[in-house]
Symmetry: C2
Subunit: 440 residues, 2 copies
C-alpha cells in the first residue's frame, strides 16, 4: 500500500517538543510500517532557536516565526507544546483557522478554555486531540472515549500528578518532611523550580476537568472542582495514618451519583493500604475508573517526562492523520453549561470519612471534650490513636478517624474544637477515601 | 446532529451474547448521546431459542436460522460469539462475504485462523474488530494499536486467564491444593466444567498469539508459543517460593530482542512479591507492556464475565460503526510467515532463572551431589532452602534458586539429577521471571 505523507508543524521545542521531534524523525520508518503514514516534521517553532536540544532537526526547519508554520498549507497537523494559556490559545486558534488539526498536551489551556477551543475546532471543521494532556503516556483519554464507550462512567480516582506523588511517597517511605521531599524532587527534576501549580493541586484539577468532561459528558469548569494541595501535609500525619492502615495520596476524584449529580475534587486522601492506588509510588500515575458494564479498570504508568508524553503526542498525530480523531472529536457532545451547572455538587455536601489530629494539652478530660463536640455534630468515631510522649508546649497528638459524615458537619465541629483552651495549634483534617475495589 | 442508525446482528446468545444484547437495548440512548450512533439489535441467532436469558429481546428477532442474518442487507455489523473454531470460522467468513463487518470475542479462532480471516476481511473490504478477544473489559488491543502506536513494543507480561489466576491466588492465600482450588473455582463459576483449555495454558496462549501479533507486527502461530499449564503445581512449591520472596502466577510473556527475535511463552512463573503483577488477585487480569518511548504501562481489570466482555464487544461495534476500526484494520500489516518464522526463538534458548525442588533422602552429601551436577552444567546457585522434617519415604525437600542460565542447561541437569539414587519422585522446575519495573 502506498504511504501517505503527513506533514507536521511543532510549536514549542522544549523537553516534550524535543521528544516529539525525536520520535517523528527517528521512528518514521517503523511508524510507516505499522500505519502506512510517513510522518515528516516540516516546521519547528520556538522563541529560542539557539539552545542545544537532544535531537537533530532537518536543516532549516527551526524558526522563531510562527507564520512560517501557519502559512504553510502543506502542514496538516499543528502540535502545540508551548504550555500556559495566553499565547498557546492564540496559537491553537490560528492553527485551526489556517486549516490545521491540533494536537496538544496543554492541560491548563484545555481545562480553562477547552469548550471555546472545541467550538472553534468544530466551526473550522478541524479536530483537537489531547491524549497527552492527561497522565502522559497512559492512553486514558482514548481508554474512556473508545474502550469504555459502552459504559456509563460512575467514578474515577486518579493519581495524576507525579510531582506530588513523588513527594508523598518519599515522605512516607523515607520519613521526610514536606520541604525536604520537595527539595529532593526538585533536585531530581521531578518538580519545577516554581512547584506551585503541582503542589497546590491545580495541575491535578486541570487534568480532572478534562477527564471528567469526557467521562461524564459535561461542560466542566475549574470552578466546579474543590482543590486542596499537599503543602500543609506533615510527616507525622502520614505516620499516624499509616498506623491506622492508610496511605496518603493526592487524589483527583470524580463521581456521578444516581441523579447524575457530579462531585469533583482534588485533595490529600488517606486510602486503604491494600488498595491498588496505594501501591503507586514515586513519579508514576494511575487512574482507577468504574464503568457500569466493565466494573473496575486501572491504568498505570509514567504520567510525565519527555518520551512518555511524546509517545502520547505522536499517537495523537497518527490518530489524527488516520482520520480517527476527527470522527471521535465530531462526537464530543458535552452537556452545555446551563444544564451542567445545577448538577455540580458543592464540597459542603460531600459525605466522607475524616482523619482528624488535634494537639492537646496532656490533662484529664481532653478527649471527652473533643468527643462531645463531634457527637454534638452527629459525627461518629471509628477509631482513635493517642501516643504517649510530648509535642510542643507539653501537648500530645490525639488522632481520630470518623465514620461517614458531611463535610459541613466536620467543618463546624473543627471550628468549635479550635475554641477549646486545651488545644495547641491548628487541628489537622484529612479526608479518608474508601475506594471500592471489585472483588471476586 | 442527526443520529446514524446502525443495525447489528448477533450470533451466539450465551452469557456474553446476553450481555451484548442487554447493553445494546438498555444503553441505546446513552450511546446515541455520546456517539451519535443509534444501535439497533436487528437479529439474534442461536441454536437454542427457548432457554430463558437475563435480557428481553425485541419481538421476533431471535432465530436459529443464520441466513436470516446473512441475507439481511440492512445489518451492517455481525457479532460472532459462538466460540470454538469450526462453525465460528464459517460464520465469520459468511458475514464478511455478505458485506458485514465482524466483531468477535473468539480468541481460539483468531489465534488459529486469524491470518486467514484478516485476509478474507481485507479481500471483502470489511474489517474484523476483536478487542473482546483478549482480557475482556481491558482495552488492551486499542491500547497497543492506538495509544502506543508511536512505540516499539519490547515486551509484554500478562495475567490473561482469570480462572488460573483465581486458582493460584487461592492456593497461595488459602494454602489449598490445586484440585481443591479448581473445585472451588468451578463452584463459583470461574472455571468451566471442562477446565482443560484454561488450566493447560492454551487459553492464555490464544490471547498471547493475538496480542503478540499486533504488538510485534508478526504473523504468529500457536506453534510459536511454548505452553506449560498449572495442573502440576503443588501448594508446597507456592509456599517455598513465597519464603524466597516470590509469588506464583501463570504468565503469558512476549519479548522482542535487539535483533527482532521474538520469544513467546506461557508458563507458571515465580515473580517478585513487590512486582505490580504479583498483587493481581483472583479472577482479575493485568498486562504490563514495555514500550520504547512510554516505558512501563499496566492495564488492570476484569478479563472475563458477561458485562466486562460485553463492554468490549459493544465498544468495538461503536468503533466499527464510526469507521475507526476500518482505518485501523486496513493498516494491520503483519510481517508474513516466511519472514517471521526464522525470528521465533525456541524455548531451549531461553535464558531464565529457575526454581528447582528435589525430594532427597535425608542423608549426608545429597546437596553436594545436586550442586555438583548444577555446577557441571554451568548453573550457578542464587539461593537454597531446606527445611527439617520428613516428606514421603523419609525424604526432605531441597529447594534451589538459580542465577540466569539457559533452559537447555537446566533440562540436562534435571535429567541427570533424576538418575541419583538419593532422589525421591520427580524434580520440580519452575521459571523465575524477573519482570523489570520502571523506577524513579
Amino acid at each position: 500500500m502506498a504511504e501517505k505523507q503527513i506533514k507536521v508543524g511543532l510549536v514549542g521545542f522544549g523537553t516534550v517538543g524535543s521528544g516529539v521531534a525525536k520520535l517523528i524523525t527517528e521512528e518514521a520508518d517503523s511508524i510507516a510500517a505499522k500505519t502506512g503514514l510517513r510522518l515528516e516534521l516540516a516546521r519547528v517553532v520556538d522563541i529560542d532557536t539557539q539552545s542545544a536540544r537532544p535531537v537533530k532537526l532537518p536543516d532549516g526547519i527551526l524558526t522563531d516565526d510562527l507564520n512560517k508554520l501557519l502559512d504553510d498549507d502543506t502542514i496538516q497537523i499543528g502540535v502545540e507544546l508551548v504550555g500556559g494559556t495566553d499565547a498557546a490559545k492564540e496559537i491553537q486558534l490560528k492553527m485551526l483557522q489556517t486549516g490545521k488539526d491540533v494536537v496538544t498536551a496543554n492541560k491548563a489551556l484545555l481545562a480553562e478554555y477547552g469548550n471555546e477551543l472545541y467550538q472553534a475546532a468544530q466551526q473550522n471543521g478541524r479536530c483537537i486531540a489531547f491524549e497527552a494532556s492527561c497522565a502522559g503516556g497512559l492512553p486514558i483519554i482514548s481508554g474512556i472515549r473508545t474502550g469504555l464507550s459502552a459504559n456509563e462512567i460512575r467514578a474515577m480516582y486518579g493519581i495524576v500528578n507525579g510531582t506530588c506523588n513523588y513527594i508523598l511517597s518519599n515522605m512516607t517511605s523515607k520519613d521526610e518532611e514536606f520541604a525536604d521531599a520537595l527539595a529532593a524532587a526538585q533536585q531530581k527534576g521531578y518538580a519545577e523550580a516554581d512547584p506551585a501549580l503541582d503542589i497546590n493541586g491545580d495541575d491535578s484539577a486541570h487534568k480532572l476537568a478534562i477527564l471528567a468532561s469526557i467521562a461524564f459528558g459535561y461542560e466542566i469548569t475549574l470552578d466546579d472542582i474543590f482543590v486542596e494541595g499537599i503543602k500543609a501535609i506533615s510527616k507525622d500525619d502520614i505516620h499516624y495514618g499509616g498506623e491506622m492502615g492508610y496511605v496518603l495520596k493526592l487524589l483527583a476524584i470524580g463521581q456521578k451519583d444516581k441523579n447524575n449529580r457530579v462531585s469533583l475534587r482534588v485533595h490529600p486522601s488517606f486510602i486503604a493500604r491494600d488498595n491498588s492506588l496505594a501501591r503507586v509510588d514515586g513519579s508514576f500515575n494511575a487512574i482507577t475508573i468504574f464503568g457500569s458494564a466493565v466494573g473496575q479498570v486501572m491504568y498505570y504508568g509514567r504520567g510525565a517526562g519527555m518520551m512518555p508524553t511524546a509517545s502520547a503526542v505522536v499517537a495523537d498525530i497518527i490518530d489524527v492523520a488516520l482520520g480517527n480523531s476527527a470522527t471521535t472529536f465530531r462526537h464530543l457532545h458535552l452537556k452545555p453549561r446551563n444544564e451542567t451547572a445545577p448538577l455540580i455538587d458543592k464540597i459542603g455536601n460531600l459525605i466522607s470519612r475524616f482523619y482528624i489530629r488535634v494537639m492537646c494539652k496532656d490533662q484529664p478530660g481532653v478527649l471527652a471534650q473533643i468527643a462531645k463536640i463531634l457527637g454534638d455534630h452527629q459525627i461518629s468515631i471509628s477509631g482513635t490513636l493517642q501516643h504517649e510522649g510530648a509535642g510542643p508546649e507539653n501537648t500530645v497528638p490525639v488522632v481520630i478517624a470518623t465514620h461517614l459524615t458531611q463535610q459541613k458537619n466536620i467543618s463546624a465541629a473543627i471550628k468549635q474544637i479550635k475554641t477549646l483552651d486545651v488545644i495547641g495549634g491548628e487541628p489537622v483534617c484529612i479526608r479518608i477515601v474508601d475506594i471500592p475495589e471489585d472483588k471476586d
